[in-house]
Amino acid sequence: MKIIRIDKKEWNPGLTQARQSYRLVGPVADEAGDVAEFRTLDAEQMPDLAAADTVLSPKAIVYPQSEVMFEYSTDPGDEERNILKRPAKAYDACAVVGIRPYDAAAFTLVRKNFDTPDYRDPYWCDAYEACTFVGLAVNQPDSTDFSTSVDSGPFSEKGLDVLLVDTQDAYLAKVLTEKGEAFMTAADWQTAADASAEAAINDLQAAAEAAIQATVQYDRIKDLSILDLYNAPFWEDVGFACINCGTCTYVCPTCWCFDIQDEVRGKIGRRFKNWDTCMETQFTLHASGHNPRGDKVMRVRQRFMHKLKYFLDKYEDGLMCVGCGRCVRSCPVNIDIRKVCNTMNSYDPEACACPV
């Protein structure tokens, strides 16, 4: 596997060149100057790689918050009325530059949902397949980063086409896939790094991983039964503070639930796919009025059980969480998934239930 050395002086010129064949997306501070988010870069704009992690995850690049699935005419005189048509959309080649490894890993988890042997969601999949992920390793993880204990990490290569490592005067680029190769060629970054590169990367990786203080354990969650965890007595304590606002689900890179809504204006109708959240009361409300998760604590339990148990059991490929810490930072009432995971993992159904 190739390691290319990109001198920092070559960075801007390379991106400018790559722009000719890719739409560039990267983290940028917004107008107010603080909340960094992932956006399509303007003609001359460069990704802000020094910024703190974005509040919203980059999932919106592939999976926008609101997307038109179909358009149709509702005009009774129209022969084609009520026939649904997918709007034409150019899934142009897109390069996501500066994505953190845990976010790229998150896409591979979410793909299990949208790209299955039986069905393929063309909206998510077409957008995902058009992207080349040029990630930036995180040399200095935040205190809320717990990616190493959930099968990811500051230098994880999962889901990436290129992994850039910042070594002060240069980026060392590990070219991981053919798509990655194509990008490096388009940016004209072709200088091979010397023999010391690999060691340099390994040192930085070791330092970054050692700096991660926050961890979760889920080894026992695997062995506990779904019903034991579901019926555990700690859910009220875990979920009491929750205000069911859904912030956690919206900032999370591995949350994917959505809603389908039809809206008509004049004689044009659109069927939308919108982000939705299991935190909402309406999420499971039946037309009859029956709501299997009508109680707030049931909804909180659902979120953690889905992420930390159902997904684990269903795919046997780790938790539905990449340890990015966004939910921990954004939850207005400080419900901490690390605490919940460890509470679930240390649960012993045989021990007496002691009231808190």
Partner: protein
């Protein structure tokens, strides 16, 4: 793979009042594109998303059997935004159907077995599909005894009344039609709640006898102990669940019970499977 969110365009061919208070209507749909019917190719027990552009989609059990050609049939209760719109539509209107979705009753496993069908109220749609399927001449011999216990609050609320009576007259199926109560002096069939009639008429359990049960939660709650008493083991009790759905293809994440998605891993589950899941449906 094709876009799984795109419905087959269909035309409403016929609308029939299914019950005397018009809260349910039966719709027969014809595919605008004849090839779509062959692609649709469903099995009894599955459901489809009825799609009304401008309003939304609803997951409804398919009431017609795969052996009934030229149309697909659904019986829909008017309860929300989309069903209300559907009830106001007429023959000739265009809409869409996505499907078939979900799993189906375990027909292969049921071959050579006795099948006891227990239904209540308007949860009889996929059960109708199942009965028509089994009674089809080329299928009947595959199954042993068929018992059907079906009840509604009163005669006018029974679905598919004419068919029920025709089946009652046959000797290759044991029909136990019941109503909770009636003041119709000509009522020929049973009077009593479904759990009660089940207790009286359902055969004793054995390895070769399976029960398929569909109905409102209260009916299931009181019928299950009856089946337990008759000795039905939970892997011989088959149920079809309902839950709020949107995509119907296992992606939007809202219909899960534990790690099972009702739209994809279900809606048909054995009671044994359900005993291991949270009852969030």
């Amino acid at each position: 793979m094709s876009n799984p969110y795109l419905p087959y365009p269909v035309r409403i061919d016929e609308v029939i009042d299914a019950v005397d208070d018009k809260s349910l209507k039966t719709f027969k749909f014809v595919f605008l594109n004849p090839d779509d019917e062959a692609r649709f190719n469903h099995k009894a027990g599955q459901f489809a998303e009825l799609s009304i552009p401008g309003y939304g989609e609803i997951p409804i059990g398919i009431a017609s059997a795969p052996t009934e050609k030229g149309f697909v049939m659904f019986t829909v209760f008017r309860t929300g935004k989309v069903s209300a719109q559907l009830h106001s539509m007429q023959a000739g209107d265009i809409m869409g159907i996505r499907g078939p979705l979900g799993n189906w009753f375990p027909w292969e496993q049921l071959e050579g077995k006795n099948v006891v069908i227990i239904g209540g109220g308007f949860a009889f749609t996929t059960l109708r599909a199942s009965i028509v399927y089994m009674l089809e001449p080329e299928n009947r011999a595959k199954f042993k005894d068929i018992h059907v216990i079906y009840g509604a609050r009163r005669p006018g609320l029974l679905l598919y009344r004419d068919e029920l009576m025709a089946w009652e007259a046959r000797d290759d199926i044991n029909m136990h039609i019941t109503v909770d109560g009636t003041d119709d002096p000509d009522w020929k069939y049973n009077v009593g709640f479904v759990p009660t009639i089940t207790e009286q008429k359902a055969p004793q359990a054995d390895d070769d006898t399976y029960a398929i049960i569909c109905g409102p939660p209260v009916m299931i709650k009181f019928t299950q102990p009856v089946l337990d008493n008759l000795g039905y083991t939970h892997d011989h009790i088959i149920m079809s669940l309902e839950n709020r759905m949107k995509c119907g293809i296992g992606m939007c994440g809202r219909c899960n019970i534990g790690k099972e998605l009702v739209c994809k891993d279900g809606p048909v589950f054995t009671l044994e499977q359900l005993n291991l899941t949270p009852r969030e449906y």
